[in-house]
């Protein structure tokens, strides 16, 4: 190793959704920030030549820089040997997975932060699933509301408010928790299948509305409006219309002159002293040389798996079991979002869904949270359900009802007749953390650099299995009412995904150091100048996509860190 580099105020490890927002808040507060990003710095000139499904949907080319090569291993329980995992598409670049995410940009609702207390109050303590570590968050919706608001206006989110200061708004989500003001941009435009599916939804008593999306429905600053090209989820945006942190928070942070971004820089360990304080990081620079970057405060904002892995790998005489892990909480309370999806054929109708974005969707919230009575159902909570665009050709060729031939002339005929007539619904189910689901280092498997992989021990819980079954039945009822036939599951009920781009926990936030790793500001209980940000701090999943909450919480935490920097930093 060469001599340590000059000390900086803050090192951020990973410039994605969380790190990107944190870099903006800290740099604007006048702190000197070094952003170490394992992936490269990409832009539209890199995204344009990759508008193809094989590069993104099949090979995840932007995960090749790191994530694909360190895919965790998986096992259903501690008695079973772990095997290589697969499937999920996270990526590495300045901007992180906000570059290629599906852009669904939700706020959680007030009750999502109080799942334990509200469930017990309504259904009794026995309603908490056996073995579940369901808990309330150490902060509430009101704490985050101003930060949701700032995120939406900084990055550019399109949507329709359902509740402004307690007043229900026509056309929005009637279940929404109160927001201070309208979205900065109107919702993405209405589309044929969305209108088709809204009719039966309304007549069945549901309340459909346009899903909020981090894609520009209109010009915003110097970024142009979305052209509905259909290359969105899994793709980098060629038009800068997708509100990644790369084109919003990070671009703004750099204008301050206080953020230095070092791409292709992979952090290997977080360094700490004999008092339990972190002192900086060691990382492989662009040329593969090991560097030491001292800092007054370190923010780890990679992703659930790498956040946990980096901390577990950063042992010291003070932290023999991993950084900030003297209470053995690292890797616990792991959650993977459960899903269930149903497709149907709308015979003879051209639906034209090879267009638009995943964010251009009709959603409803009637089956989410506790918006319906769960008495006697055998599960708590629910899912947001949505119908979205962005159908892809290879994906279409794979997803078939049981009645369709899988190959041969009959297969061609089926595709020709139906491929442009497929519509569906998808439910994203709030998943409960279980004592038996956790992350640790795999003693038997390493990545290309010889570093142990994360091992995921995970099985879908009984509560979530029942929830997916319930939602499957409801979605089938709706699709049949809409005139859909040949219904099939794009993802069947009761199937858990051990590795997920919607993973949570592992560095849970809480008030009690014995049962959590960080406090509500993301600061480690045991290492006070170490912050951890991202989904890994979430105590629960909610039924919603996580990114906007990750960003709002990162802003909330970074603002606290900036205001109290002198007393927190070392």
């Amino acid at each position: 190793m060469t001599n340590p580099l000059p000390k900086t105020d803050v090192v951020i490890v990973g410039l994605g959704a969380a790190g990107g927002i944190a870099s903006y808040v800290l740099a604007r507060a006048g702190l000197n920030v070094v952003g170490l990003e394992a992936g490269p710095r990409l832009s539209t000139k890199d995204f344009v030549p990759h508008l193809d499904e094989i590069a993104n949907g099949v090979r995840n080319w932007m995960g090749e820089f790191k994530f694909n090569k360190e895919m965790p291993t998986v096992r259903p329980d501690t008695k079973t040997a772990a095997v290589p995992g697969s499937g999920t598409r996270m990526m590495n670049a300045v901007g992180g997975t906000s570059i290629h995410y599906g852009t669904q940009s939700w706020r959680f609702r007030a009750d999502d932060f109080k799942v334990h207390s509200e469930t017990v109050a309504k259904y009794g303590a026995g309603a908490i699933p056996p073995g579940a570590t369901t808990t309330d968050w150490p902060l509430g919706y009101d704490d985050l509301e101003p930060y949701y608001d700032q995120v939406e206006y900084l990055i550019g989110v399109s949507g329709k408010a359902g509740n402004i200061a307690g007043v229900t708004q026509d056309g929005g989500n009637p279940f929404e928790s109160a927001r201070a003001r309208e979205y900065p941009l109107p919702p993405l435009r209405s589309f044929g299948y969305g209108e088709l599916i809204s009719e039966p939804l309304t007549s069945l008593g549901y309340h459909p509305f346009p899903q909020p999306s981090a894609v520009l429905s209109e010009q915003y600053g110097d970024r142009p409006a979305c052209t509905y090209c259909g290359f969105c989820g899994n793709y980098g945006c060629w038009n800068d219309s997708k509100s990644s942190t790369l084109v919003s928070a990070i671009a703004e942070a750099e204008k301050t002159g206080k953020l230095e971004i070092r791409p292709n820089s992979r952090v290997m360990t977080i360094l700490s002293n004999d008092k339990g304080q972190v002192t900086g990081v060691s990382y492989l620079d662009e040329s593969g040389e090991l560097q030491e970057q001292p800092a007054g405060l370190v923010i780890v904002s990679t992703y659930v798996y790498e956040n946990v892995r980096l901390l577990l790998l950063s042992t010291s005489p003070y932290f023999k079991q991993g950084l900030a892990n003297n209470n053995g909480q690292l890797g616990k309370h792991y959650i993977s979002h459960a899903y269930v999806g149903v497709n149907a054929v709308f015979s003879g109708k051209a639906l034209n869904m090879y267009s638009g974005t995943n964010g251009q969707a009709i959603a409803f919230d009637d089956l989410n949270g506790d918006h319906f009575d769960h008495t006697g159902l055998g599960f708590i909570r629910g899912a947001v359900v949505f119908a979205s665009n962005g159908q892809q050709p290879i994906g279409t060729s794979r997803s078939l009802p049981a009645t369709a031939p899988r190959w041969g002339s009959a297969y061609k005929q089926w595709l020709h007749q139906n491929a442009n007539s497929i519509g569906g619904l998808f439910a994203q189910v709030e998943s409960q953390p279980l004592e038996t689901n956790f992350l640790d280092l795999d003693p038997d498997s390493t990545d290309a650099l010889g570093v142990p992989r994360i091992r995921v021990t995970y099985s879908l819980g009984e509560n979530d299995i029942k929830a997916t079954q319930y939602l499957d039945a409801k979605m089938r009822e709706i699709l049949a009412a809409a005139g859909g036939t040949d219904l099939w599951n794009t993802l069947p009920p009761g199937v858990g995904l051990p590795i997920n781009s919607h993973a949570y926990g592992g560095t849970r936030m809480g008030d009690d150091p014995v049962t959590s790793v960080v406090n509500k500001y993301g600061l480690a209980h045991e290492a006070p100048n170490l912050a951890v940000l991202g989904g890994s701090v979430f105590p629960g999943s909610s039924g919603y996509n996580p990114t906007e909450t990750i960003e709002a919480h990162a802003w909330y935490a970074a603002e606290y860190i900036a205001k109290n920097f002198q007393s927190i930093a070392v």
């Binding site: 539209t44 000139k45 344009v48 030549p49 990759h50 508008l51 193809d52 499904e53 094989i54 590069a55 099949v58 090979r59 080319w61 435009r189 209405s190 589309f191 044929g192 299948y193 209108e195 088709l196 142009p224 052209t227 509905y228 090209c229 259909g230 060629w238 038009n239 109708k349 051209a350 639906l351 034209n352 090879y354 267009s355 638009g356 665009n389 050709p393 290879i394 279409t396 060729s397 794979r398 899988r406 190959w407 041969g408 002339s409 297969y411 061609k412 005929q413 595709l415 020709h416 491929a419 442009n420």
Partner: protein
Amino acid sequence: MDDMKRPDKAVLRILPRREFIRNSMVVSGAAAAGLSLASTAAFAQVATPGVDATPVAPPLTEDELTTLRAAIDRLIPTDELGPGAVDSGVDLFFVTLLAGYGAPTLPLIQGGLAALDAAAGTDGFAATTAETQDQLLTNAEAGTLENAPAGFFGLLLEYTRQGMFGDPMYGGNKNFAGWDLIHYPGVKLVWSAEEQAVDSEVAPEHKSVAEYGGVPS
């Protein structure tokens, strides 16, 4: 929103600003060279020009290639709905794939092809009737084809679909046959509101990302 009604104009407006067409004429890969599979060795040498000048060893022997072509042509045959897998260049897609990104799966594919040949008798799979070929593929799908490695059929079908319905710059989907079959218009950078309506007719654009400087990943 005038531009939205004239997609081409909107694209042209956007392209120069984004420096899209910087490489628009540089169409790389085997597809652009309009290659046939007359010689796999010759193909392998030009499969990745500018990426790796070293000639790649052809991943499949001529015999294996013959079997592969016979098999994928049963999975997606040429018929009254249009060209099948081989006529669409999906064999070319396999060769590129198995020499590069998909190289780790080469033994699985080779093992499966050998199993198809062995089960077909002395003249091999390609020489048997379409009926027998379908039966052997059905056995492979059911996992009852003798000596076929586990997962062979699923992977063969997945790769065939990737080749047939993926971007033509990877070698398959020649003349956009796969996309036309499923009414996918091709790379289309602007969709109007009218085009997103139910039952509106969306004309095929027949554009590969190669036109925007794309190269196989």
